[in-house]
Structures are given as C-alpha cells and as structure tokens.
Symmetry: C2
DNA sequence: TACTTTTATGAAAACGTTTTCATAAATTCG
DNA sequence: CGAATTTATGAAAACGTTTTCATAAAAGTA
C-alpha cells in the first residue's frame, strides 16, 4: 500500500511524493504542513499521517531559498573554549534552538583575516542575523558592512567596535569592572597598585583600564599610576611583567589582572617566588572563571554574568529580526558586573 | 557605468545580475565563478572583476539545493562549555572551516528528547554529515537511523552507542584510562581504593570502571572492591558519596574520580574535613581539565588529548564524506590516554 | 433564490544556482 | 583542405519549497 509510494530508501522524499501518494497538489500539501491558509481538516490529517509514514522532513534549504530565510544565526567569536565565550555560546545556542534557529559558529582565533573570511562565509550562507565578538586587534570593521547594507541584523558583544561604527552593541560594564577592582584594592589599604592588562586596541581592556585609573585617581588622588603593563594575555608575558614589577624598589602590594587565566599565573608566580597572597600582594582578576574559586588562595574577581549576557543577546537579536530595520541610533546595552570577594584580596 | 546594473543596495545580486551586466548567460557566469568546464580566459576575468564590483556572493542555499550539498556539518554534544567538548569543538570548527565546511552546533543538555529533536533538525537542514556525542542516558539510538538510511555519514565520539548499533565511532581509551588510574593508586601503596563514577549507562563510565576494576584485580588480587559509587556528576552527590565513604571504618586511602570537576570537589571536601591529600588520601581524576593543574595540591589525572581527538574526528569524517558508503564493518577508532602525575597521587 | 463571502484546492511561477544538451567557433590532424 | 576534436557559450531544466492567481464548491446573507 504505502510501500508503493516509498522511494529508494536513500532518497529524500519530497512534498511531491506526499502529493502523489495522496492525490493532492504539492500546494495543498505545503499548506497542510505549514498550516497556512485554508485546508480541510480531514485533508490536513491525511497529509500529516502520510508525512509520518513516509518519514518526510522538509528540506530547509529549499524552503529557505523560497522564503529568503534560513533560520540560521551566525556567531563569530575569538575562541569557543574561553570560559566567558563558552558560557555565552551555551545559553545562546539553547535559546536559539527553542526559537527554531540553528546556530553556526566560527572562530577567528583572534585573527582579523579569519574574522573577515567568516563574515563572508556567513553572509554567503545567508544567515538571518549575525552575532560577533571581535578579535583583539580588529580595527577595520568594514568586513561587516555587507550585513548592514543588506539589512541583515548584526549584533556585536563584548569586544565591540567603537561608537563611530554605528552598530547594535551589548557589552559588559568594563569601566565599572575596572573601577570596582581599583576601589577594592584601595579600600584594602594597598599603596602601590599595579595592573596587568590586555591589549588596549580592544575596547574591553581600554575600558577596564579607564575605570581602574579613575578609581585610583578618585580615591587615592594619584595621577597616572606607574605599574602598568599591557600584553597579549600569554602566561609568558605575564611572568615577564611580574619580573619587571618586582625588580624595582617600589614593589606592588595590590594588582589588578584583567583576565583570570593570567591572575592564576600571578598566583603561581607568587608561590614560586615566596610572595604571600593576600598579605604581601592583593590580587583581583576578571571574569569569574570557575578556576578562580578553587585555587588557593581563591581569587577575588569581577563576574560578568555570561548567562545573562547570552539571554540579552538573544532577546535583542530577536527584536532586531522581528522589528523592521530602523536607522535610529540604538545606544549600547550595558550588562552589569560585580566584584566577587575571595581570599586573594 | 556600473551603477546602472546595481540593484537597490538592500537586494542581493545574483548570477543573473552579473550575466546581465556582462551580456553573458548565467551558465557562463557560473562556470567562470566555479571554474568548471571551458571558459575563455578573458571572460573569466571579466566575470571575476564584475563579481567584485557588484559585491556578488554566491547564495549557498541555492547552490546547496541544486547540488544536494550544503557544506555544513552538524555537531550534537551534551554541553559546549564542558572542558573536553569545548576543546574538541574548537579544533573541529577550525579544521572544518579550512576544508570549506560550516559547523552547526546543538546541545542536548543531556536530554535524550532534545538530542532527538536536534537530530531531526539537522537532518532537515540537510547537513552533509553529523558528529554526535550522546547524552549520558541515551539508550535508544533510532533517532539517528535516518542518517544511515539516507547515506549521510554519521560519526559518534566519546559517548557512543554500543557495538550492536553499527556506526562509525571514535572514542578515548577509557578502559586503559581506568586501568592506569587503578594501577597508579595500587603502586602508590593504597590498600583501600574507592571510586566515584558517573552513570554506568554511558559507555565511557562503564569502560573506566571496567579498566579500574581490572587493575585492582590484577595487581591487588581483590575481587569486586567495596567502595564504589556512581552518580550523576553533581557536586552534591559527590559530597554524599564522600560522606558515606568516610563514615565507615574502612576509610579509603586512594580514590579514583572519573571526572575532574568532581575531583576538585573531593579536594574541597578533604580540605574542609581535614583529610590530607595525598598523605591520607591519594586522588586521581579524569580529563586533564586545566583546573587540575592549578589547584593545590594539583590533581593527578588522565589526559584524553582532546585536540588529537578533534583531528581524528575531522579526518575520519572527511574520509567518510569522500569515499563511497560501504557496509563494511569499521572497528571503533581508539584514541590514546595517559596518566599525568601531579601532587595528589 | 440570487448574491456575497468563506473555504478548499490546483496550476504555475518563483527563489538562485548548476548542469545537461545543443551549437558554433576555433583548433588540431591526417 | 576537410574532418575530427577541442574550446566556448547559451537555452532550458532541475533542485524542493512557497505563494500568487485562479477557480470551484460550500456556506452565509438579504
């Protein structure tokens, strides 16, 4: 009965196969499947039943081509395995799935060339929207222009373009994060406070530094602190910076490290060199990577609430997809941060 | 000149637009773009130049529909943010991108229902192949049947179906991992060795337990050890297990915990309860999560070489995609593990 | 009853590619 | 030089949907 309509099992069956098996037109089958427009109740049931029997699944590509909608969102980020990003991706993917969207992920590995390549690929794949956290060095954002010119929603997060590049942005309150760190160290009584920062080409490190300096200036009345280092976030560089810091006569008694991984490196360096934390050196990290909670001493750090971040991302994205495009200026959404006090400071 | 051919900027231009602008047929343009078949050198140059000028990008959906190839791979895993998986995904995505494939990711959150849903979605999206690491509880693998019946390569890794479900599989050498852990604890002189394992419904925990027991049996001559616990990998459950273990009179002096996160929990419990590691309790974890290297004492663990894992995944997948499907039985690929000795044991 | 509206379905076009089938021009070969 | 081959291009069909435009039947309304 049914078998006579079933094609070679390796073939996909289509809406035409369903139509043939039911003596209906493909149009009606499509309508039944998507319950758009009028379809007799009985017909719809017959279609659904047959679809089940033949194991029919819609070819999303064909539908996408026709509808000009892929139900796919592209996500470009530096590296999935970084704690903050892994958490964000986790919730973003879950929420998008619930809303019927696929997520395609591309890692720039902090290489602007790769980032551009991914933008092109995703555009070519006709993603319905795109989410981007930039490279540490991205200065030319024009590879993303195609999206705006083609009215494809683009949403930057965390590492974002400057205000001058008009785009929707969600970012953590890095200035406040830096400020909280500085304030905490000052209030703990530190006199010589240093900082090991990431590259200032990236907005997040720039803002963390600005907030931090503002705190020192406001609360200690100091101008430009001396013990500043910026680097590419490698453990080796952190050690270099520490060596320099502790060589001089004005050793730091407080240190703000803008990445938890590097804060852990500081911890190890301190242990190796007999520097007591927090007695001799108070330490504040950034991100609330779970590792900071289990090392000893545990590390005081700034939580960025990545899950909340992810939720806001998806909510904003959906709003962008659903509402008609507007040229209105949309101020950056700032998500909160807070200081998690632990043993290191 | 050119502008007259440019459409409204929000429109995508197509191969037809190129053809019109150049007074060529779409066929020739396509041939020039993909350099298939004969195209005069000069023509090809003209096409490429115009493509650049008009900012043409191929619509991958249309191409995919026509070619029955999406250049997209689906990946289903429990949760991206787990260390092992994050590392695997990182290298898999990078390698796939280099080979011209997009990666779409779906998280089952260890829910078999969600896993099934994702399989359906990815099938519907016509992925060229699919990579799966199962739920801890997946027992019914039939949701994946569609792929095999439609000749779509499917490759399981890490958490895989049993031998009886014929499918290509890449897994870590969990038996050996368990064996190495057991051997190490025995050789360290432990007499009462316990184990906290994940759910035995999953092949990985079953194999780790089997290897571990084999080691104790072979090297200690003991039959079924007493101090066995299995649980769902939650910190709370680990604490419960520990409470029970240390309540009895035969307290363990060695412990194999088949997940590093839980090994860290053991560390904390030990600290809270004044149990000295490694003096009173030797501890071995599993996965070589970076956290094990930075806690103190650092944790001896089993490395699974996730990067190597990812490389093998992609290599095998490419082979499956490129070579004609075969019914030949393909034995599971086993990737190596090794014991990383640290302070805890 | 005769008209309008609602319900139900089908034919055909469209989405943007690629490829098969033609055909013509250019080149090679005997 | 004429025939065979290679090079170069175009027309049209195809991939699997969805949707517009018809049209017909059923239901509602005056």
């Amino acid at each position: 009965m049914i078998q006579q309509f079933m094609k070679d099992s390796q073939q996909h069956n289509t809406i035409l196969d369903l139509a043939a098996a039911l003596n209906l037109s493909p149009a009606t089958v499509s309508r039944a499947l998507n319950n758009t427009s009028y379809v007799k109740k009985e017909t719809k049931e017959r279609v659904l039943e047959m679809a089940l029997k033949l194991g029919y699944r819609k070819n999303k590509m064909a539908a996408g081509l026709r509808n000009n909608k892929t139900n796919t969102i592209g996500l470009i980020l530096p590296k999935i395995s970084m704690y903050f990003h892994a958490e964000v991706v986790t919730v973003v993917q879950n929420l998008l799935h619930a809303k019927g969207y696929n997520l395609i992920i591309g890692q720039s590995n902090d290489d602007p060339g790769m980032e551009k390549e991914l933008a092109e690929t995703f555009f070519s794949s006709r993603v319905d929207a795109i989410i981007v956290s930039c490279t540490l060095e991205t200065e030319d954002f024009s590879p993303f222009d195609i999206f705006s010119t083609h009215q494809i929603p683009i949403l930057f997060y965390d590492r974002v373009p400057p205000e001058t590049y008009r785009a929707r942005v969600i970012k953590g309150d890095d200035f406040n994060g830096g400020f909280l760190a500085g304030k905490h160290l000052v209030e703990a009584g530190c006199k010589h406070i240093g900082m090991i920062n990431g590259p200032m080409t990236s907005n997040i490190y720039e803002a963390r530094a600005a907030g931090f300096i503002a705190a020192l200036r406001m609360l200690q009345g100091k101008e430009e602190p001396k013990l500043f280092f910026q680097q590419q976030l490698q453990a080796e560089e952190t050690r270099e910076a520490l060596k320099k810091m502790f060589k001089g006569k004005s050793k730091p008694d407080g240190l703000f490290v803008t990445s938890d991984r590097n804060a852990v490196t500081v911890l190890q360096y301190a242990k190796e060199n007999g520097i007591k934390i927090p007695q001799e050196l108070r330490l504040v990290g950034y991100s609330n990577d779970p590792v900071t909670a289990v090392v000893s001493p545990s590390i005081t750090t700034i939580d960025q609430y990545p899950a909340l971040f992810g939720e806001k991302l998806v909510a904003t994205l959906m709003e962008m997809i659903e509402s008609p495009p507007t040229d209105e200026y949309q101020p950056a959404v700032i998500t909160p941060v807070s200081l998690i006090e632990r043993e290191s400071a």
